[in-house]
Structure formats: structure tokens, C-alpha cells
């Protein structure tokens, strides 16, 4: 595993100044940091350039705590961050966990959103806000991520098998045996824009940035949270997003909760800038 710790570039000057001061005085209090587990390859949430949505929110939250973000970077996808970063105490917080993720102690949610249909703003297939519209619409090709509620919708709608090869083509048929292989979020959007997919079913914050930036006008339609396949329990389509800390780190969770209240307006602005359609918190 490779990871490295570094401060984002924009605070480098400030950091250097503090460092210099600390060295000069020899004993000055170092600025407290927020050690964030972060993936370099999880656009639009987190990138090596630290320009992802969660990179921005981490900065906002840290500021509200009077701390500085100290990234612990991972070359692997964010799905591994809890197991390989947080649990190993290499870093202390993971942004963007589901509020009910049992592996972590989750803060109060800082936003809520859900799965959306991404279609062309005009001329796209007729898709309302129900998962069942997948079944009834004449759309056949759907870009979705693997092992997601979106994939389950395709299964329940009887359109999964015919989409498997297409879905694998989005990862260039890379061998998936025992390997985490996932469709890039921007690809979910570009496939719709260039007409290769009739629609995408995606978690809104996965794709909002790319929908907003698309040359071809696209739209997002939020799905109702009412997906119960015939043979199973309800599958949620709306999710609270929170920050995860280790279960025994209640102190940090409390501090983060306080900061989230303070930082709420700025977080809201960040989400709006990103184009994420948010839902009312699930209380």
C-alpha cells in the first residue's frame, strides 16, 4: 500500500510560516490537524489535486474546527478507505459514508441526496420518477455502476442481462475476478451525452459535476425512494451522507458534529456549486 501525507498547496504558505514560527520558538503549539483518509482516484469526490467535492467540504469543516486538513492519500478507490486507512489508524476521518455504515461511528449527515436518472434535456427517453419507469420506457441501454441499487433496478426491471456487456465495455472489459473495477463517474454522464446510453441511473453527487459541465444539455430526475423488488426487502434510493470516524472516537465525532452545524451554509454552497440536488435531511 502506498500513501503519503501532505498539505494542500493553497495552505502551503501558511503552513510554512507556522512551521518556521514553530521552529523558531522551539515549543509553539502546532496547528491541530484533521487527518482525512482520501483517495486520489475518486472523482468527483476526491482527486490527487484535492479539487473534489469532498476535498472542498473537508476544508470547510476543518476550518470550522479551527484545524487544518492533513490528507493521508491512497492510490486506491475510496471503497477501501475504512478498511485500509481508518481501521488501521493511518488517518482519522472518512468523508462520504452512508449514515448507517456499521463499520464506523457516523456524524450527523451533512447532506442527503438520491439516485437520479440522467437523460438528455430534450429528446431523451420518457422516464418519470419511479424505478418502474425503467421497465415501461423504451430505453434499453443504461449506464450504471456495478453492485449498486441502480444495478438492482435494472435487474428488477428485467433489463440487466442485456446491459451486462455494455456495462463491462465501460471498463474496457477489465478482468473483474476479485478486483474492484468501477465505471468512472464522468463516463456515466458522457455515455448519455454522446448517445451511447439512453440514460444513466446514478447517485446524484456522483454525477452532478459532470452533468453541469456537459456540452450537451442533460437533466437529472430524482427517483422516488420507493424501490421494493418483488422478491426482497426495500432497497433505499435516498441516502444521508456523513463523516465516519472510528467507533471509539466519539470525541472527534462530537467535534465534527459541532463543526457541521457551523459550516452548514458553506457546505450548502459547495453542494449548490457542484449542482447536487439535495433532499431534506432524513430525521
Amino acid at each position: 500500500m502506498t500513501f503519503s501525507s501532505s498539505k494542500p498547496a493553497h495552505s502551503a504558505l501558511l503552513g510554512a510560516a507556522i512551521l518556521a514560527l514553530a521552529l523558531a520558538s522551539g515549543a509553539a503549539r502546532a496547528v491541530e490537524t484533521l487527518k482525512v483518509c482520501a483517495s486520489k482516484i475518486e472523482a468527483p469526490y476526491s482527486t490527487a489535486k484535492a479539487d473534489g467535492l469532498e476535498n472542498r467540504i473537508a476544508k470547510i469543516v476543518a476550518k470550522a474546527m479551527d484545524r487544518e486538513v492533513d490528507y493521508v492519500w491512497f492510490d486506491k478507490a475510496a471503497i477501501f478507505l475504512v478498511r485500509d486507512g481508518l481501521d488501521k489508524k493511518l488517518c482519522d476521518v472518512v468523508f462520504g459514508v452512508d449514515a448507517d455504515d456499521e463499520r464506523v461511528l457516523a456524524t450527523k449527515p451533512y447532506f442527503r441526496t438520491g439516485y437520479v436518472y440522467v437523460t438528455k434535456a430534450s429528446g431523451g427517453p420518457e422516464l418519470g420518477s419511479s424505478w418502474k419507469d425503467v421497465e415501461t420506457s423504451n430505453a434499453t441501454k443504461f449506464a450504471v455502476r456495478f453492485s449498486t441499487p441502480a444495478e438492482l433496478i435494472l435487474k428488477a426491471a428485467g433489463k440487466y442481462e442485456e446491459n451486462v456487456s455494455y456495462g463491462l465495455s465501460l471498463v474496457n472489459f477489465e478482468d473483474k475476478r476479485n478486483r474492484y473495477t468501477q465505471v468512472a463517474a464522468d463516463r456515466l454522464v458522457s455515455e448519455v451525452a454522446n448517445g451511447d446510453a439512453d440514460a444513466s441511473i446514478a447517485f446524484a453527487s456522483d454525477v452532478a459535476r459532470f452533468v453541469k459541465a456537459s456540452q450537451t444539455p442533460l437533466k437529472m430526475t430524482m427517483l422516488d425512494d420507493s424501490f421494493t423488488p418483488a422478491d426482497g426487502p426495500k432497497i433505499p434510493l435516498h441516502f444521508d451522507q456523513a463523516i465516519g470516524v472510528r467507533k471509539d472516537d466519539a470525541k472527534l465525532a462530537t467535534a465534527l458534529d459541532e463543526a457541521l452545524v457551523k459550516a452548514a451554509p458553506e457546505i450548502e454552497k459547495a453542494l449548490a456549486d457542484e449542482g447536487v440536488p439535495t433532499l431534506k435531511p432524513n430525521s
Binding site: 453492485s147 442481462e161 451486462v164 456487456s165 463491462l168 465495455s169 472489459f173 473483474k176 475476478r177 476479485n178
Partner: protein, 630 residues
């Protein structure tokens, strides 16, 4: 997890007893020229020499007395670095040589060995490379002798999914068909197989949403005759009316869909076949194994997943299956059972002469079936260290599993034997009908398998396993050696006449000869000869690169030659070929074979041997400049 068990309906059995069973097969096609060609020691016209796929030669010029004098006669580089599986063909004065992607084919002149009579170098989309899962191997060629109107043909497969017929005299493309669409993730690595006027070809890419099938083409035109799937409705699987009538407990009709699969998962259920075929002109059946179900992770596909992992006997003319025996219902270990089918005629334990097929499976069991109706005759462990299964119940055909070595969630299984690579993989083994012994190259590799599930935001998740492969209990786990075995097996007694350990897997298979010899190549780059009665090592030679193909022999102008491909690669060479270091990469193969790179490097070609290196260039005038032609 819930398991689906299906049993044949009593009604079907009762209704079918009115029909007579077996025995009444029609006589063989007398004029099948391939049969004739394969009877001569001057030819090696198909992957296993004859339709019986015995890799056995009656030639005795090279024998236990003189094999120590075996020396290189000549060699030929294919110019391809990647793994070379399979074996060359020899018909008359020509040797036909194939290679890994980009899949060139060469016709060589045996009178001036190494001289290229023609070469076929296809242009293929580079994307084919990305789609192939484990190196970019190819398992060989097929030959059709021609009929006076249509010229003799060489049949080949390309990684990009095409089957191509080449004029055997000129190398020109005679016809070309797309069998597998790489746009949907399906590639071809199998050797095509000619039976009478039909050429068979399988499919690869089980993990990629592919539903496996075998297709029959008219060898003269490339027109498709029929296609039979491994999963799906009975008409797609092509089940004969009397399918499994002799063994209704194997399962009969209506099992290829949601009775053994969840929902429509059979549509993407894998069961590809990329191994070897055999044929019996008397039963008119050909034999092969369908591979693993997909997806790889077993929790995603509850049920028996029929008819993946199945030994098939199908009519060559109609494609209809007379029998199918599923060896590993609901595979949990990636034991894709596409392995070689070797045909023999032997007396069973009761003294009854029977037509048999013997199949060393990836799951560590060597199965022998009555090839007329599929009845199990024996099922023995390839090594006493096999542990996922306690035994195969010969009455029911069901493997009795040991739950300790299952790969279920929330259970760390350690020392599962065999590993996902199987105790036997794609190697083409041999059978000596005089000694009634099968000579089998074995992987002696076990594994740890700890499944995990990682959730991620918005209800996403990833199910995987931490996988480690290492030498089996008889190997050296400190130094990662003792990864292979070579064994002589009697399918009736179930006894091993002899067995020897090898540093690395014997991946490519074996050749047996009436000279009381068994030849095989090793991953670390040796070709070896043992006394086939005793196992005593009599001769070996260091090749330029490791071996993953099987040796062959032919007699040309009175001299017996032994030929073998070198060129390490394939699954065991995946770390070396792609320069991988993570021991769990390649599903653990990189760790298991981490020492291989200290023994051999890439590079492919054919190496030919004869006693004292005798070869046409002993006459130094052969191949010399003889002046300008006028």
C-alpha cells in the same frame, strides 16, 4: 446459502425405458481421412494425435535404451514472446506452427526444417488483448484433409474471436467467421477441432457476461451448422430426447434456467469451453467440458448453475447432447472443468469391456465415464491432498463436500486444495493403451480464501476475497517450490503406478510413446523423458524458455523426432509476463510462482529433437545456394 438440488422426474425415466439403450450405434464413417492420417506415425494431424486424444505414438525408434542420446535437431522461433500452449501439427512433409497473440501461423518444410513455406499474420484489433483475462495464449490448429473439390485446410482461431480457414498449401484465407464478439468481451484461445466435415470451436470470457457455447461450422464454407449453449432453455442447450436417460439422477430437462439459477442469471452465466475435444466415430459423439459459472463470486449466483462444469457427450451432426454430467455443481473455487478428454477401451472391474472417457478435472478429481451413456465408472483424487471434496458418490454423481474448505462469506478457508488454478489445468495429457496408464501433469498448489464485503456510499458494495496460493503440502512453502507433479494413473484400479514431484507445475501436458517413454515440459524450461513403467527420469534438456504446451512426436523419412513449444506464460506465467509483484494478483498466481522468474524468461518457439540430433542438414548441401535459377 440455499442450495438447489434437482432430481430427475420418475415420469421421464418410466416413459423412456421403452426405447432401447446404447449398443445400436451405426458403424463409423469408413472414409474419414483424418482417422487414416492419425494412424500413421508420420503425422500428428490434431491436438491429441487422434480422435481419441491420447497423445500416444506407437513409434519406438526413441526408447528407454537410447533416449539419453536425444539431441536438438532443429529449432524455430515464432517471433512471439507470450505463452505458447498446445502443440504443432505435422502432416506429411509439413509442420504447422501457431503462436500466442497476434496469432501468426507458419507452414514449415520438414525437408528443409525451419524454411517457411507460407505464413499467415492476421491484423487484429489491439483491444482483443485488453479483453483476454490471463495472458494471450492460443491452444493450436486443426487440419482438414480436403476432398478433391475443396483444398485441404488449416483452421485457426484468433484472439479477436474469429475462426479462419487457410488453404493448407498456400496459407491464403479460404473463409473467416466471427465466432465471438470481442465487443461483448468474448475472445478465442481454444484450438478448433475438425470432425469429419465439421469444425468445432468453443468460446472464452466467462467472466464478461458471456454465455458459453460450442459452435459447429461447415469446414468447407464456414456456414454455421448448429450452436449449443451451456446454460438456458433446453432447445438452446440442445438436449437429445433421451438426454441422460441412463443416469436420470444427473438431471435431465429444464434445468438450465431458473431452477438452478437465480432469475435470468443464466443469460450471463459463463460455462464457456476453451479446452480440448475428443470424438468417437462409433458413438458419433464428441466430448468436452464446459467451464466455470459466472460471476466469479459464488454468493451472486445461488443454485447448481447447470450446465456449467459439465462433461458433455454430443452428437457431432446435430449437436444434441446424449449425456451431461455436472462435476462441480455450484462452483465456489473457479474450478473451470474444460480439461482434456482422453478416450480408451478397457475392461471395468467386473471384466466388462467398455468405451471410456477419462478427464482429469481442475477440481482435483480424475473422472472416468462410460462414453456411450455417461455413466460414472470411477472418480479418484488426483492427489490425496485434495480436500474440498471428501469423495464423489459414484451412485449419485454428487461430490461430498467438506464445508471447512468452502468459500462462503464470513469464513476464512485455509489450505484449500486444489487452488483456483486446479490440480490440473489446460494441459493435454496422454494415455498408453498397452500399459493402460494415463500420464498426467499436475499442479500441486493450494490456497487460502477469505471472502470480504466492502460497502461504499449510496448502497454500493464490493465482494471480493483475499486469496493466497502456495505449494501444496508436499511442496516447499519456504522457497515456493514443489508446485507440480507427474503421475501415472490406472483408471480402473484407481491406483497410481508411480508419481514424482516437480519444482513447478507440469502445465502443458504429456506425450506417451510405445518406446516406454513419457515426455513433458516444465514451467522452468525443461523437456524431460521418464520411463513410463517406472517413472525413472532418463533424459532432460534445457529449453530457451518455460513450457506450457504439450510435446508431440513424428517420424519423417525414417527418423523419429520429438517436438515441443517453449514460451512461458499463461496463468502461471502471468506475474512474469506482465511484471506483477503483488502476490495476490492473478488471483494469487503471482505469489505462487514468484520464483519462476529466477528460472526462465519469455520467448516462444519450437524445439525439435532426434537421436544424436539427426536432421536433414546432416547433408550439408541441403538448403545451400545452388546458383541462380534460370
Amino acid at each position: 446459502m440455499k442450495r438447489f438440488r434437482t432430481s430427475a422426474s420418475a415420469f421421464t425415466l418410466a416413459a423412456s425405458t421403452a426405447l432401447s439403450v446404447v449398443g445400436a450405434t451405426l458403424p463409423a464413417f469408413a472414409n474419414d481421412k483424418l482417422v487414416e492420417l492419425s494412424q500413421s506415425e508420420e503425422n500428428w494431424p490434431m491436438t491429441g494425435k487422434s480422435y481419441k486424444a491420447q497423445n500416444y505414438s506407437k513409434a519406438t525408434q526413441i526408447n528407454t535404451e537410447n533416449v539419453k542420446n536425444l539431441r536438438p535437431a532443429w529449432a524455430f522461433s515464432t517471433g512471439v514472446l507470450h505463452g505458447h500452449e498446445g502443440t504443432p501439427l505435422v502432416i506429411g512433409d509439413r509442420m504447422y506452427v501457431h503462436a500466442a497473440f497476434p496469432n501468426p501461423t507458419f507452414a514449415l518444410d520438414l525437408n528443409e526444417p525451419g524454411k517457411i513455406l507460407w505464413q499467415h499474420k492476421p491484423k487484429q484489433a489491439p483491444t482483443a488483448r485488453a479483453v483476454a483475462c490471463c495472458d494471450v495464449v492460443n491452444r493450436g490448429l486443426a487440419y482438414w484433409p480436403g476432398d478433391g473439390k475443396t483444398p485441404s485446410l488449416i483452421l485457426k482461431t484468433q484472439l479477436d474471436g474469429h475462426i479462419v480457414a487457410l488453404n493448407a498449401d498456400t496459407g491464403e484465407e479460404f473463409w473467416k467467421m466471427e465466432n465471438s464478439d470481442i465487443k461483448v468481451g468474448s475472445t478465442l484461445t481454444i484450438a478448433p477441432y475438425v470432425i469429419k466435415d465439421t469444425v468445432l470451436v468453443g468460446s472464452s470470457g466467462a467472466e464478461l457476461g458471456v454465455r458459453g457455447y460450442v459452435t459447429a461450422y461447415d469446414v468447407k464454407t464456414g456456414a454455421q451448422k448448429w450452436r449449443a449453449y451451456a446454460t438456458g432453455p433446453d432447445e438452446d442447450i440442445k438436449l437429445a430426447k433421451d438426454f441422460n436417460m441412463a443416469n436420470p439422477h444427473y438431471g435431465q430437462k429444464g434445468l438450465g434456467t431458473n431452477k438452478t439459477w437465480e432469475g435470468d442469471a443464466w443469460k450471463i452465466g459463463g460455462g464457456t469451453n476453451w479446452g480440448w475435444y475428443a470424438f468417437d466415430p462409433d458413438t458419433n459423439l464428441f466430448y468436452y467440458g464446459s467451464g466455470n459459472p459466472a460471476p466469479w463470486n459464488e454468493t451472486m449466483r445461488p443454485g447448481d448453475n447447470k450446465w456449467t462444469m459439465t462433461i458433455w457427450g454430443r452428437d457431432i451432426d446435430t449437436g444434441e447432447a446424449k449425456f451431461g454430467y455436472q462435476k462441480t455443481p455450484h462452483d465456489e473455487w473457479d474450478y473451470a472443468g474444460v480439461n482434456v478428454m482422453m478416450l480408451s477401451e478397457q475392461e471395468d472391474k467386473t471384466g466388462k469391456m467398455r468405451k471410456l472417457l477419462t478427464h482429469p478435472d481442475r477440481n482435483g478429481i480424475v473422472y472416468t465415464l462410460d462414453r456411450e451413456d455417461g455413466t460414472l465408472v470411477s472418480a479418484d483424487k488426483l492427489d490425496d491432498t485434495v480436500n474440498w471434496v471428501k469423495q464423489v458418490d459414484l451412485k449419485t454423481g454428487i461430490p461430498v463436500r467438506d464445508p471447512e474448505f468452502a468459500t462462503r462469506m464470513d469464513h476464512k478457508a485455509t489450505e484449500i486444495c486444489p487452488s483456483a488454478m486446479g490440480y490440473h489445468n489446460q494441459g493435454h495429457d496422454s494415455y498408453d493403451p498397452e500399459k493402460k496408464l494415463f500420464f498426467m501433469g499436475i499442479n500441486h498448489i493450494c490456497m487460502d480464501w477469505e471472502p470480504f464485503q466492502l460497502p461504499y456510499r449510496a448502497g454500493q458494495f464490493f465482494v471480493g476475497a483475499t486469496l493466497w496460493m502456495y505449494p501444496g503440502p508436499k511442496g516447499d512453502r519456504q522457497n515456493y517450490e514443489g508446485l507440480g507433479q507427474i503421475k501415472a494413473y490406472n483408471a480402473i484400479s484407481g491406483k497410481y503406478a508411480w508419481e514424482k514431484m516437480e519444482k513447478f507445475s507440469v502445465w502443458g501436458g504429456t506425450l506417451a510413446t510405445a518406446g516406454d517413454l513419457v515426455f513433458y515440459g516444465t514451467l522452468d524450461g525443461f523437456i524431460k523423458a521418464r520411463n513410463s513403467k517406472t517413472g525413472e527420469l532418463l533424459w532432460k534438456y534445457r529449453l530457451p524458455s518455460g513450457v506450457i504446451g504439450h510435446p508431440m512426436t513424428y517420424t519423417h523419412k525414417g527418423t523419429q523426432y520429438v517436438a515441443i513449444y517453449y514460451g512461458v506464460g499463461g496463468w502461471p506465467g502471468v506475474g512474469l509476463v506482465f511484471d506483477l509483484n503483488d502476490p495476490t494478483a492473478g488471483l494469487g498466481a503471482v505469489g505462487a510462482f514468484k520464483n519462476l522468474a529466477n528460472y526462465t524468461q519469455m520467448g516462444g518457439g519450437v524445439q525439435v529433437f532426434a537421436l544424436n540430433g539427426k536432421n536433414p542438414y546432416d547433408d550439408v548441401n541441403i538448403g545451400e545456394w545452388t546458383g541462380k535459377a534460370n
